[in-house]
Symmetry: C4
Subunit: 126 residues, 4 copies
C-alpha cells in the first residue's frame, strides 16, 4: 500500500469556527478539521486557500503531510499569513503536489453537549 | 487559484427546516444551508428550485455569489417567489452559470442541545 | 428543470433503526430515511433491497416517487415483504427506472437530545 | 440483485476513537465503524491499513464479508496485528477482492448526549 491515492485538489464549501465552547480543552474546543491522508511514499506539500463572503481569499497556508501519514489539520491552528477568523463563514480549497484524500469534520461545543459533522470533501478533477 | 472548480448543477435530496428552535438567534435558529463556493473570477448567477412531496416545484430563486467568494445561503431566507415552508420535506436543485461547489448543512435546535448534519451535495454531470 | 438528474442505482452501506426514542412522535421517533429526488417528468418506480449480517437480503420493497417530486422515505415504514427489523445492522440498495438522487439521514432520539447524521448515498455506475 | 456494486478500494481520512463514553454498552460505547456492503455472490476478503500522524501504518487487518451480506465493522474490535489506539488521530484504507460499498460512522458518547457523524467513504479509482 505505497500507492498514492486520491486527488491533488479538494474543496470544502462549508466552514465556520465557533468562538467559544464547553468541555475540557483541546478535545472539546469547538474546531474545524481537514483530515488529510497521504498514502504515497512522498511527502505531500499542501497549500490551503480560505474564501470569504465579503473579502478576497487569503493564502496559501502551507503544511506538510509526511509520506504514509495522516494529519488532522485544525483550521483553528492556521497562523500564516493570518489566523482564520472565528464566527465567520468561510470555505477552503486544498492543493497538494501528490494525491491525497480529504475529509471535513467540525466539533461544535457551544452548547453543553457537543455536535459533530463530517463529510468527504469535494475531489476536484484536474 | 482563480480557476473555476466544481459543477454547474447540484442536487440536495434532503431538506427540512424545523419551525422552532432554542438558543440565541440567529446562530441557533434551526436552519438549513447550502454552502456555495465560487473560486472563479466571474460572479456566479445561481438559480434554485425547491421540490416537494405533494405539489409542483417552485423557483427559480435567484442569488449571486461573487467572484472568489463563498456564500452560506440559508433556505430560511429565500423569499421570492415564496418562502420555503417550515416543517415540510423538500429537496433542491441548484444551477449556476459558472462551476461552483455545494455543501449542505442543517442546524436543528428543536431540543436543548443542537444537532448538526453536513454532506457534500450531489454534483450532476452535464 | 424537467431533466432527469442522478443515477438509477444507489447504495447505503449504513443502516440501523433504534427501537426507542424520546420526544413528540412522529418527528422525534428514531428513524432512518432515504430522501429521494425525482426531477424527471416521469414517475420513478423504486425497488429497495435490504441486506443483513447474517441472513439473505429481503426485497424488493416497492415505492413510487411521482414526477417532479421528492419523497423522504422512512425505512421504519416499509412493510412488504416484511418490516425492517429494529436494533439490527443493515444496508440497502435502491433502484429506479428513471434517474434519481438519494441522500441518507438518521435521527437518533434514544437519548434526551437527538443526534442526526446525513450523507449522500453511493451512486452506482451502471 | 446479485451484481457486485462499488469499488475495490476505499479511504477514510478521518478516524478517532474516544477512550470513554456514557450510556449502556455496547450500543453507546464510543465507536468508529466502517459499514461494508457486499452485494456480490462471492465472499469479500477485506484488508485494512491504519495510518497515523507519527508512525508507520499498521496492517493489514483481515476480515471477511460474506456474499450478499453487510458488516458494520467497529475499528474498536480490530485486534490483529494490534488494537487501534484510542484518543489518537488515524485514517484508513480498505481493500477488497470484490467490489464493495463503504460508509463511515462514529458514535461519540463522551458527553451525556451522544453525537453522530456519517459519510460515504472515498471510492478510489483503480
Amino acid at each position: 500500500m505505497n500507492q498514492a491515492i486520491g486527488h491533488k485538489r479538494w474543496a470544502i464549501a462549508e466552514g465556520y469556527i465557533p468562538s467559544y465552547g464547553n468541555g475540557p480543552e483541546p478535545a472539546f474546543t469547538s474546531h474545524e478539521t481537514a483530515c488529510i491522508l497521504n498514502t504515497s511514499d512522498l511527502d505531500a506539500h499542501i497549500k490551503i486557500w480560505i474564501y470569504f463572503e465579503d473579502r478576497d481569499p487569503i493564502g496559501p497556508y502551507q503544511e506538510t503531510v509526511q509520506a504514509k501519514r495522516t494529519k488532522h489539520l485544525r483550521f483553528n491552528n492556521l497562523k500564516e499569513p493570518e489566523p482564520v477568523p472565528l464566527d465567520t463563514d468561510y470555505a477552503s480549497v486544498i492543493e497538494s503536489d501528490v494525491p491525497i484524500v480529504v475529509q471535513h469534520t467540525r466539533l461544535d461545543s457551544r452548547q453543553a453537549e457537543n455536535a459533530l459533522i463530517s463529510t468527504i470533501a469535494y475531489p476536484v478533477a484536474i
